[in-house]
Symmetry: C2
DNA sequence: ATGAAAGCGCTAACAC
DNA sequence: GTGTTAGCGCTTTCAT
């Protein structure tokens, strides 16, 4: 067993941490004065204040924030939670989620808060509530709505300050921020229909709220164009490259005709492109392909991939702002972020 | 001005936070007993302990960790810092850094610590010391050594517990964990030499420690193969796609002959491939290309990109273990992680 | 303008 | 076994 860490003994060994009393003694004043001085209080003599500030700076002293926060009953930490699958214990590998994380880091630090990154078991979202109940964080941004709608509702029912990246659902008690998925699905399908494509494959698991809405948009576009949706072209694959490849290959093997593919992530779409090429189909001539998320990698594949763009930095800001609004006692309404289709060669005429 | 957040008034408005005294009153015992019970002390009657535990669970009470840590002089937070460097323009959106972040999140949570993600101005690394001095974190993992060698040495001189992802340098006082860059550069070059390539372009800014070492490995391989390194083939481009494209295009424009490219990131290598294709050069026939980091995207470009693989999950673990060792008072020696070349079509015979 | 003292929510001697 | 008490490092009345 390794010894405990971060406790007094260890710190003593390294260097005893300086505290206010030390500064006070050295400055020949009381702790209260030091406290006031360091917090820029007008009450303390300007000259003394300067002397104390200098002393503190020279000694690299900084206020113990734990103690300060305890005394002030305050906290500036926002927890960002990524549920992981208990079975695979797999961490987030999807580039889109990782970039959302980057956007959140920016938004949270810009607003003067700290970001605690926390992985929790998806089956045990109670751990999320504990982050707030224990005073570790003042609120939670959760990335990965997945199938946890009910659990998330329960957390919200407990009055847990939480904002979720994902889709807005019926009977939803928690606040979501997410891309306009219906519009995203529709834009992709409309674009392909305009290119004269009629048999458009949809690649994604509609059980997932966001994907379900994209599918709805896709269907709506088909109907509006008087093209009947075909069940055999809706492939319910998870966000996993292997499954996507297999599904597309199976379609080709079974000689089911199609002239376009919409993937619910860029990776899914690119996997489809690869399978198509391996089977001798040309993209975009034989099959046009559109992806989702518009990650940088869309520019680096061949042909460059058309994709539905989601505003990542905006997502970070909106998630944080919604959470802060909630903490201010306001009702945070779900927010739908604009998406747009970026057309590249994979679907060009 | 928005009102302060996370302070008492706001919490009162929402729901007053339960505390030990409340549980004690409800259970008809003293706070100490509750404290002992909740910490599983054998001292308290098994039956009382169970009663208290149940009560706490039913009321969703959880111990205030801020207060607990203050009292225990303890802390379980590790700060992960990503300095933003204006010069090299590579920041948190780089896929490699983001995946390192994922690896760290795994490693830190697996060991029972919390991960605080912090972006700091690279010009002001003092903010890093403050994370520890203020008791916010017990130590720091810094991703992005860049040109901050001297500043990092100063931090280490202050006895700041810090581990840096990057290259081991002379006169280094801080602990680094990094891939074996010399070997990575050498492997890439040797592989290309074996394919009969003699005029190998090196794409990357050698001012950056990691890149400098890769360049050294590259040169060593050339020399060993009796091929003289040529200054005009060493392109000192930053980690930025535009610069890489321009550099390669300029080479082509100036009709400087080359038959291979090593990029210091996958993005750099892919950018090179795109420029080559735009100029009618076939990859790998005319020019073989090798990237660095072996991110998933290497599989999705055309042709699939050969790349030097760096062990990301291993990196997270080693960084954290080195930091913990340091906090245990041990001397944490720099660690070099094995890299290997993954050969794909972009450089195949 | 400054200091003494109380207290944030918790734990750990030290009593009994 | 359980309660009483002191104190973690800070801020803030309340005195002076």
């Amino acid at each position: 067993m390794t010894p405990p860490l971060g406790d007094k003994r260890n710190n003593d060994a390294a260097r005893r941490r300086l505290q206010m009393a030390d500064i006070a003694r050295l400055a020949g004043v009381s702790v209260s004065t030091v406290s006031r001085a360091l917090n820029g209080s007008e009450l303390v003599n300007a000259e003394t204040r300067e002397r104390i500030a200098t002393l503190a700076r020279e000694l690299n002293y900084s206020i113990n924030l734990g103690a300060k926060n305890l005394r002030l009953q305050r906290n500036h930490t926002i927890a960002v939670v990524i549920p992981y699958d208990a079975v695979s214990r797999q961490h987030i590998t999807d580039p889109f989620f990782l970039s959302i994380l980057g956007g959140l880091a920016d938004a949270i630090t810009d607003r003067g808060y700290d970001m605690l990154l926390s992985r929790v078991d998806a089956e045990n979202l109670d751990a999320v509530a504990r982050l707030v109940d224990s005073g570790t964080a003042i609120g939670v941004v959760l990335i990965g709505q997945w199938r946890h709608h009910d659990q998330l509702n329960q957390l919200a029912a407990r009055k847990l300050p939480i904002v979720v990246w994902g889709a807005q659902l019926p009977q939803q008690m928690y606040c979501t921020v997410g891309g306009d998925n219906v519009r995203g699905g529709r834009l992709a399908a409309e674009h392909l229909l305009q290119q004269g494509r009629k048999r458009i494959v949809f690649l994604g698991d509609p059980q997932l709220p966001e994907v379900g809405q994209r599918l709805a948009g896709y269907r709506a576009a088909l109907v509006a164009a008087k093209v009947a949706p075909r069940a055999e072209l809706e492939l319910a694959v998870p966000f996993e490259v292997g499954a996507a490849r297999a599904a597309v290959a199976s379609l080709l093997d079974r000689k089911i005709a199609f002239d376009a593919v919409i993937g619910c992530s860029d990776l899914l779409a690119i996997s489809a492109m690869q399978v198509l090429r391996e089977h001798g189909r040309d993209v975009p001539r034989d099959v046009a392909v559109v992806g989702y998320d518009d990650m940088p990698l869309t520019n680096y594949c061949d042909p460059p991939l058309s994709s539905v763009h989601q505003p990542v930095p905006e997502a970070g800001m909106q998630l944080v702002d919604a959470l802060l609004a909630m903490l201010h006692g306001q009702v945070a309404a779900p927010r739908l972020l604009p998406v747009e289709l970026v057309i590249r060669r994979s679907s060009a005429a």
